[in-house]
Assembly symmetry: C2
Homo-oligomer: 256 residues x 2
């Protein structure tokens, strides 16, 4: 095969976009790894059966070990002939039952799950109760103390807009541009459940979990709304709180 | 130690009642088994550390592999000195996080979790949706078809009262009196969630799961309300539907 041929799209190849929901409890995150089972590996391996050839998927967002997705988006090119409408049902028989294909569509050759994404919504769930709920242990952060969710909602408004999020980036992470734009953020409470929502055009590694770890200090009364705002402005990771645990985090939606 | 002594309550012994919630996914049911890990074994082993001596617990109801509890009740006698109010917190550090002690109280010497129980409530959850939800796979029965929950609610009223439940007993189970009394039963729907509730003074082995398996045939339009009633009256296991899967079943409350 000449170089020219290998750079052109394959004859009859289609670009497929899938929306996935998965329970991340059993997996070492989304991205394929050398020594641990990741979502990417299992999806690529099982879809290869369906499409009749090895394939490589691109994911809209990386999720860490224990982090979940209601609307992860992946894309890949295939020469397989299965009608797009049959993919969700066919995938059900091939994938483990903690990974579900919610939707499948054929998209333009230029579509890429990660690079075409305009914005994403992440959610973070807290279960606030003196006694832990065994059914929520893998699906939210249990906090025994009472948190002031209204104060957390007021505080989180400070991140809306375009800011340098260096204070909330992962410590020791690679030097990337730390400026990101948040379109909306909220904290709502329903009974013992507290839910944060973050809608942004991009997120730094661990940014949502570092934000939640710091916002919880506002909820506990250890940090004022003004002090939270000052942490953001400091651009200093040492000013922010601890990283919230992974099991409360969900990649909710990706917008194109 | 003389026989007389061994039959008397130990000096300073207390009878303790604990209310437990557990996620049954990882366990081979409640009852201690030879070759598989059951809730009873892990609770007895861990509580022995707390009370300083081996102990044997009695459970209000057996739950099968994969069946859950929001309000299982256990009782046991101990000479250990830990104040009853400290038990839930102390147990938290000893038990795995899928078993939680919700409540602890000291009860009369005559109290027995199983024999003193007056009635129990079991719940059964169905997730009715064309696409499975990966987060509910261990916590409800996924059914892709639309079910008529109103017809199921009307049908289930037939079991209220005292009846011979032979049609809904486990096939091949030991010959026990098949007459049981149901105080109330209901089927309610909220969005994609359908929930059955069964309040009764006693239940046969697999009775709730066999009832649900048959009621779902009413919901699917395969069985009329009158035909469901006739199945109950037939006292014939072969007239009833399949046994519903375990992961939708919850021991909700035990009343004394």
């Amino acid at each position: 095969m000449s170089e020219q041929q290998s750079e052109q799209p394959l004859r009859n190849s289609r670009n497929i976009k899938l929306t996935l929901a998965y329970d991340g409890t059993r997996y070492h995150g989304f991205q394929r790894q050398q020594n641990a089972l990741a979502i990417q590996e299992i999806v690529e391996t099982r879809l290869a059966f369906l499409f009749g050839h090895p394939l490589k998927i691109a994911g809209a967002g990386r999720t860490d070990t224990g982090v979940h997705a209601y609307g992860q988006v992946i894309s890949f090119t295939t020469t397989g002939s299965i009608p797009v409408g049959n993919i969700p049902r066919a995938a059900r028989g091939l994938l483990p039952d903690d990974i579900v294909v919610l939707q499948a569509e054929e998209v333009d050759a230029g579509f890429h799950a990660r690079f075409s994404a305009q914005s994403k919504i992440y959610e973070y769930r807290i279960h606030q109760s003196p006694v832990a709920d065994p059914f929520l242990r893998n699906y939210s952060w249990h906090i025994g103390q009472t948190l002031d969710s209204e104060q957390m909602h007021i505080a989180v408004q400070a991140i809306v807009g375009t800011h340098d999020f260096s204070a909330f980036r992962a410590s020791g992470s690679a030097p990337v541009n730390p400026v990101r734009t948040i379109l909306a953020a909220s904290c709502t409470q329903s009974g013992t459940q507290i839910q944060f929502s973050f809608w942004g055009t991009g997120f730094l590694y661990h940014m949502v979990r570092n934000l939640v770890g710091t916002l919880v200090n506002v909820g506990r009364g250890k940090l004022t709304v003004e002090q939270f705002s000052a942490v953001l402005q400091s651009c200093d990771r040492h000013q922010a709180g601890a990283t919230a645990p992974p099991q409360g985090l969900y990649l909710k939606e990706v917008h194109y």
